[in-house]
Subunit: 194 residues, 2 copies
DNA sequence: ATTGGAAATTAACAAATGATAATTGGGCTT
DNA sequence: AAGCCCAATTATCATTTGTTAATTTCCAAT
């Protein structure tokens, strides 16, 4: 099966493309495999590429005082990117790591942008992609503003069923913004309540 | 002086427009004055308009268990919007309130989008606007992930000098994600340390 | 199957934050 | 200028979370 189909489907959610246009985009594509524990982006690196996960699981994290603090998890059919590299062309302040062996379709963001002259309608798709990203980003902000750690934990389980079987609890703990010990206590409380 | 000049300058940061194109955009513009304590958006309302602050000061907040929790402050030359309305055409889950008497230039987002066929280069400007928004949004996420309340407070003072003279400390407290009492203690600690 | 090592849980204690209430301070109205 | 109302500070106490360490559980490698 053609891996590229999946990202095509993803793009076509946002707008239609002719086969010829699609081939132009495909010419920028690269398939990348990342081993478990290896990185798509490291701190300090300028990475202007976006990755589309064919299979596997990733996270991004900040390194603060030697501690890894997870910001987000990504799974199949999701887009991973370091916005600093893509939008600002600046060195990343975060790491993007494969939690499992991960296969990605990689597209250079600026080169993709530069195809808009050749591909009518590409701008519309990019706008839709960015809008999509904004929605996710704002939901994450809202989750910090209005939710407790326990609520964030429950939301993660709901939004990403199965994620607990894929990643360490200590990663989830920092995603939820507590220590592993506290997450353990939250889980104990929830289990008792049931 | 022409208020519309300021939003034109703002847009032109992201791309050039001819006078004719600009007039087309201007035809969508509306000047809106909002009294202190009044709202640009209320919870439940579908608002697909973006506002550009000519003068004044605003904030958005969520209402949770009767508590107002501030998510962001906006000042002159910044754009205010409820992404749920603009992007998703859904009822807002938040309020946008004028903290001071505020004058806005208001543009309907979807109508603006629909001008792309008539205005070459508008899509590029919209992309730049969205990218700009993503950067701000991700910085806010990062601030929750890697910073302590004290650090968030210091960052706000640095990024928005003078904001403390414009808004109540209780608003700042919830922005920083602590109670007013705790913010007061943080301030006392900082004053002593100096 | 055994074993080594890290992750998760549990317990005990320290530190920080929240909640409540009393006091002080500042701004607005009359 | 006086008085009132709400915001901000301070104090006290309760609750929660972090920290450290001990114990158990889970994987992975041999």
């Amino acid at each position: 099966m053609n891996n590229s189909l999946s990202i095509k489907n993803f793009f076509q959610n946002f707008g239609q493309l002719s086969n010829k246009d699609w081939q132009l985009i495909q010419s920028l594509e690269q398939i990348v495999d990342i081993d478990k524990g290896e990185y798509f982006v490291k701190e300090g690196q300028i990475k202007d590429e976006i990755g589309f996960i064919i299979n596997g699981c990733m996270r991004y994290f900040y390194l603060k005082d030697g501690e890894e603090i997870t910001g987000e998890f990504w799974q199949e059919n999701e887009i991973v990117a370091a916005y600093e590299g893509c939008i600002l062309q600046k060195p990343s302040s975060l790491y993007i790591e494969a939690i499992e062996p991960t296969k990605l379709i990689v597209l250079p963001y600026r080169k993709l942008r530069s195809l808009s002259d050749a591909i009518a309608g590409l701008d519309k798709i990019i706008i839709a992609l960015l809008e999509n990203f904004i929605v996710l980003s704002q939901e994450r902000v809202a989750s910090f503003i209005i939710e407790t750690p326990e609520e964030r934990y429950l939301r993660l389980r709901k939004e990403m069923p199965g994620i607990e079987d894929r990643v360490h609890q200590k990663y989830i703990a920092s995603f939820v913004a507590v220590t592993p010990v506290t997450l353990s206590r939250i889980r104990a409380r929830l289990a008792k309540r049931k």
